[in-house]
Structures are given as structure tokens and as C-alpha cells.
Symmetry: C2
Subunit: 205 residues, 2 copies
DNA sequence: TGGATAAATGAACAATGTTCATTTATCTTT
DNA sequence: AAAGATAAATGAACATTGTTCATTTATCCA
């Protein structure tokens, strides 16, 4: 029936309306300042309406976190053009931490906040597909590197996790403001320099 | 005058009473569930009393975060007995991530939460002495390694930051529940295995 | 002992996420 | 087209949070 289709479409439209408002506020005033009331005000609906379309706040944050992985995925997708696996791996790290520094609140939501994981638990879904897919890109890349002779004597998955951890750690420490005040020399450019050091470490392998 | 001394002592006692209650709740029910009212209830004082001794909740969390660094510092202190700098560096990483895994909420407070940094800002203190001191231990250790011939061609501070980032990243991803669901093989022991990979990476330098 | 100083109190406020009975709009059927 | 049924939207109300501050209670000192 055509009518039910249209209605479903309309429902989707309002859902994305809410999500767009949430994202707009999210990047504008940052995560902690986003309230359901502000979202409702932004789209000129009542508070209750938001709860018609989303189970709770975690539901909204979970959707935003998914969108974030969409963004990150697009950025990573460009790297398919880099054929040499080792070069692609290095570029992957760069894309990753630039995404994090450009979208700190989104990155925090994707990799630090409890909201998305709590939502998945509440939904009985054990699978964190977004994270899985992204880590898979890294793991496959490292695998290619190993196939072409790099990382001899290393184990694929733990090594991939180490690489992820290193880049994530730099981003996380930066976003949580722990770098400033600890680093004496060039606290602004430390991540770039540190990444060079990291590349030097893995390049010899 | 003796009386004012005694009064100052009493004030300190109540402060520590509050802090101990806060810490007890902190490790028991975790960070997010700790409320001023629960702290007050725990020590059988009124809510207002807590605000007589602490400016706000961030003040309390800042003190707890300092205590955390005290704990971590003690754990690290034992490593003085390890004379070989490279061995000491590896052991340092182990102590660090074991502390993180054993005290996830405390670690989160120390290295992720905004509360301590916000408190320092509000107090006009730019200095994060706790973090500085801890990072200094790492940097000095790396320096010793370089003096004894390791890490040739690397820069002290960026390299130290990379090492910190790697271990912090593993801890952070574990605490934020991002490891489970992404790692296929042995999600429990991944950190141990990954740390071995990391050690292998830096050991060759 | 009484007046001053310090400490403790808890009611009250604003902001938050969330619920739900009620109202309003839309659709379906006769 | 009207009426009844279904769906969507509403916003007042609730519980919980951090925080404040006039008031009460305790302590000190002259």
C-alpha cells in the first residue's frame, strides 16, 4: 500500500531531522551540553516527540556514533588507491588521527563514551559492527604487509591491536587534554612528531 | 595557639573522611554513580557539609585523581630496583597497564575524565603536576635507554610520548569496552599478547 | 555567662532524562 | 462526508542530579 510507505518515509524524515539537529548541536556545543530539550527546541518539536522516535538518549548517541563511523569509513576509503601495503598502513594512521583531531567530540563518542556500548547491551546486540569493520580494515592491511615480508615474527591480531592502540592513545591523550602540560617541547605538534617516531619504529620491521 | 592547630586538624580529618567515603563509593559503584548525596549519606553528614569542605564535585574528583597518582607512583617506585634501563622500561609498561586494568575507574579519572583538568583550569593552575611527574619518570627512563645505546636516531620526547600512547591506548580501549567485540582471538589476553608485540618492536631498537 | 565566630544543616533551585495521560491530526470505513 | 479508529504530538509532572544559602546549632573566648 502506498500510504503506509509514505508514512514510513515521513517517520524516517523526522528521525533524520532529529539526528541532524543532534549532530549540529553535538559539533557546535559538544557532547556534554547536548540535551533532549535543546534538540527538541532546534527542530521546533516538543520534548516528548523525540521519545516517539528514539528509545532514549543513548539511542540517539548510538546513531551519531554510527554516522561517525560512516565519516571515518569514507575518509579511509580513499586509501584504496595506495597500492603498497606499508605505505597504505602509514597513511591509514594519518587519516585516523586527523579525523580524531578534527572531530574530537565525535571521536570521543566513537571510542571512549559508554553510551554506544550501553545501547548495544540494552538492545541485546553483542556485536559492535562499526568498530569491527574498521578494525578489520586495519587488520587486513597489516596482513598484506606481512604477506609482503614485513613484521616478521609478529602475530597479526595482537600487532594490529598495538598499532591501533598507539594511534588511539595519542588521540585520546590529546582530546582528554592530558598532553598539554606534560609535553615541554612543542605541545602542539607533538602528535605529528610522535607519529613520525612510530612510523620509524614499524618501518624497520 | 594550640586550639587553632587542633581545629585545622579536625577540618583535615573531615576532609579525609569525605574523601575516603568518595573513594569507597568510587571503586564500589564506579564513577558515574557517585553523587554528593551518597557521599554525605555514607559519612552521615548533610549534603551542605560536603560543600563546606570542597568547592564542588570536581574538587573532590581532583583529590581522588591525585590519590590515584599516589598509588601509581608507589607501584612505579618499586621499579627503582631494576637497574637495566631497557628492562626497567618494559617493567614500567607492565606496572602501568596492570594498574589500569585493576583500577579502571581510577584510571579513567586520571587519564580520561574532564573533571581534574576542569578543576585545574577553574583554579587558574595551568600545571598538571601529577601527570608531569609520571611522564617524567618515563622520559627519564627512555633517556637512560638512549644513553645506553638504544633508540638510535629517535627523539626523546616524541618517542616517550609514543610509548605512553601505546600503553595508554591499550588500557583506554579495554576500559571503554572497545576491545571486546572487535578482537576475535582471545579478547581476554589480548593486552598481554599485544604488549609482547610492542616489547618486540622496541626491543630491536 | 553571653556574645561572637565557626560549622552544620536541609529546604529550595535549576537543569537533566524520562514517562504518560491527554490532545491533536490523520486515516479508514461506511 | 461523517464518524470512529489509529497514529502522532504534546507538555506537565516526576525523579535525580549539582549547587546555594538563610537558618540553626555548636564551639570558643573574654
Amino acid at each position: 500500500m502506498g500510504t503506509s510507505e509514505r508514512k514510513a518515509k515521513e517517520k524516517e524524515e523526522i528521525k533524520t531531522l532529529i539526528l541532524n539537529a543532534a549532530k549540529k548541536l553535538f559539533v557546535k556545543i559538544g557532547n556534554e551540553q547536548v540535551t533532549i530539550r535543546k534538540i527538541a527546541e532546534e527542530i521546533e518539536y516538543s520534548v516528548g516527540t523525540v521519545y516517539v522516535y528514539f528509545k532514549d538518549k543513548n539511542d540517539i548517541l548510538n546513531e551519531l556514533h554510527r554516522q561517525g563511523f560512516g565519516q571515518l569509513g569514507s575518509a579511509i576509503g580513499i586509501l584504496k588507491s595506495v597500492s603498497d601495503p606499508m605505505e597504505r598502513l602509514k597513511a591509514l594512521g594519518r587519516v585516523y588521527f586527523h579525523f580524531a583531531l578534527d572531530n574530537p567530540d565525535m571521536y570521543d563518542l566513537m571510542f571512549n563514551m559508554k553510551a554506544p556500548m550501553e545501547f548495544l547491551e540494552a538492545m541485546q546486540k553483542e556485536e559492535w559492527n562499526e568498530g569491527k569493520a574498521t578494525f578489520d580494515v586495519l587488520r587486513k592491511n597489516v596482513e598484506k604487509c606481512m604477506e609482503s615480508g614485513h613484521f616478521k615474527g609478529h602475530q597479526l591480531e595482537p600487532l594490529s591491536f598495538v598499532i591501533w592502540s598507539t594511534v588511539h592513545g595519542m588521540c585520546s591523550l590529546h582530546i582528554s587534554q592530558r598532553v598539554k602540560g606534560v609535553i615541554i617541547e612543542n605541545p602542539e605538534s607533538i602528535i605529528e612528531k610522535a607519529y613520525e617516531e612510530f612510523v620509524a619504529l614499524i618501518d624497520k620491521e
